[in-house]
């Protein structure tokens, strides 16, 4: 039996029929094509799949899509507003806080929620706040310094192209 699912994703009302075993992560990536949230461990240990559900950070790998019925879901893609990256996204770019990039969307979503709720954490509190996000490249120092630049209000939001970027470039002329 399949289930009707209605929810809001990045501000857009979405209506789909889903199978009950489909996780919110799979639904976002495969049904909606929002591949920002990543599957790292699939067991709630690494945080790469973090999305906001009604504003709070959740593991989309431990959430059945049907359990998000009626929820407002925000993915890393939905953090862009007025054609600008948000402060955390911008800080990650400016600080080069990315190595392989798999953990980045989860870190950005988690840190966005954490700094919204705790705008002035100590370094220790900040590190505990993102303790559920693992970077297997071990690039923690640049991540933490990027987040400190957000706390210090030193981040200029970066403009992004309003047009969706082409994922596959057109082949060059013959």
């Amino acid at each position: 039996m399949d289930y009707p699912l209605q929810l809001t994703v990045n501000g857009v009302a979405v209506k789909r029929i889903v199978e009950p075993q489909v996780r919110l992560l799979d639904f976002l990536r495969e049904d909606l094509g929002l591949t920002g949230a990543k599957e790292g461990c699939g067991t709630g240990d690494c945080g790469a799949c973090t999305v906001l559900v009604d504003g709070d950070p959740h593991h989309s790998c431990l959430t059945l899509a049907v359990e998000a019925e009626g929820a407002a879901v925000t993915t890393v893609e939905g953090l862009v507003s007025d054609d600008k990256l948000n402060a955390v996204q911008s800080a990650f770019v400016s600080a080069g806080a990315t190595q392989c990039g798999i953990c980045t969307p989860g870190f950005v979503v988690m840190a966005t929620a954490y700094l919204r709720d705790n705008p002035n954490p100590t370094d220790d509190e900040l590190r505990m706040g993102v303790a559920g996000n693992l970077c297997r490249c071990t690039g923690y120092e640049t991540i933490v310094s990027a987040l400190h630049s957000v706390i210090d209000g030193k981040v200029e939001r970066i403009e992004v192209s309003p047009e969706p970027q082409e994922l596959v470039p057109e082949p060059e002329g013959e």
Binding site: M1, Y3, E19, P20, Q21, R23, G42, T43, G44, D45, G47, T50, V53, D56, P57, H58, H59, C61, L62, T63, L64, V66, E67, E69, M110, A113, Y114, M128, G129, A131, G132, N133
Partner: protein, 292 residues
């Protein structure tokens, strides 16, 4: 995950009926932080998932007329951790809930799930046991109350009939001059599983120097969450000093029944029970004095 059927009833009796009808074929889903992992990683087959998300009477945290505190089984780790009512009533329940995984886990995982999963290393359940909390259990025959300390019969095992659900927990008002502490030993600070956990509740006499009563409950060092009864006896009526705490620590170590596994040897765990029992008691005593 293999396919399963899913129901999210809005009435508790419907949920109980579905679970009773399907017996071992059905499981209740609270936050899913354990169940989904078991189904995906360990191939646990569950033909029917009964979601508890729409059961309004399992939510909320409230103070009752008699001064007791009721916490819905579906209250999440973060709700319990941040609740001023919980912190004011029995601080160690908030402390235990804070240790459930990460912020993301605490937004999904529930207090009822932490008890219901029945892991010997649970962090949120032992403070409930130490505070003499009772669980309201709802089933086809109505609602019954059971001490949380009697619910767990072994790792992953609960004294619940098919179709019974934990609806809420009620924590009686703590006596005056009481202080609490939950502390665990882990190699890492977060995202780890307790090697040893100690929930301590201490009540002082009027003089604030003598221990009137004490409750010490162990995590991760026995098949369940037992009271360290010898340690509790070693505390009652004794002066609140280092010597008494040392006696209690030794007694708690003897009360524990740890196993050796990948996290620690039984011998190491027993030594840590001694150390952490003393530390938990010292903080509980400080808090009892500060609150008086």
């Amino acid at each position: 995950m293999t396919r399963f059927d899913y129901a999210a009833p809005t009435e508790t009796h419907e949920a109980c009926a579905l679970l009773a009808d399907r017996g071992d074929e059905a499981r209740a889903l609270a936050g899913g932080t354990d169940l989904i992992v078991q189904m995906r990683e360990r191939g646990r087959r569950v033909p029917l998932i009964v979601s508890l998300r729409n059961l309004a009477d399992m939510n909320g945290i409230s103070r009752n007329g008699d001064g007791a505190l009721t916490i819905g089984a579906m209250a999440t780790g973060n709700e319990v951790h941040h609740s001023p009512l919980v912190q004011d009533h029995a601080f160690f329940i908030s402390e235990g809930a804070e240790l459930l995984g990460s912020i993301q886990i605490r937004n999904r995982g529930t207090l009822g799930g932490n008890v219901g999963n029945a892991a010997p290393s649970a962090d949120a359940a032992p403070p409930l046991v130490a505070a003499h909390a009772t669980a309201a259990i709802v089933g086809a025959k109505g609602t019954r109350a059971a001490p949380v300390g009697d619910l767990m019969t072994g790792p992953g095992q609960l004294a619940l009939e098919p179709g019974e659900l934990i609806q809420s927990f009620t924590v009686p008002a703590l006596p005056a001059r009481s202080g609490t502490r939950y502390v665990r030993h882990v190699p890492r600070r977060e995202m780890d599983i307790a090697v040893v956990g100690i929930a301590a509740l201490v009540t002082l006499e009027d003089d604030l120097e003598t221990i009137a009563d004490a409750s010490v409950v162990l995590s991760a060092v026995a098949p369940t969450w037992p009271h360290a009864t010898t340690a509790e006896q070693a505390l009652r009526g004794q002066p609140a000093n280092d010597r008494t705490l040392a006696n209690a620590g030794e007694a708690a170590a003897a009360d524990s029944r740890p196993i050796s596994d990948v996290r620690a040897s039984a011998e190491y765990r027993r030594m840590m029970v001694d150390v952490y029992t003393r530390r938990a008691l010292a903080t509980a005593i400080e808090r009892a004095r500060a609150a008086s």
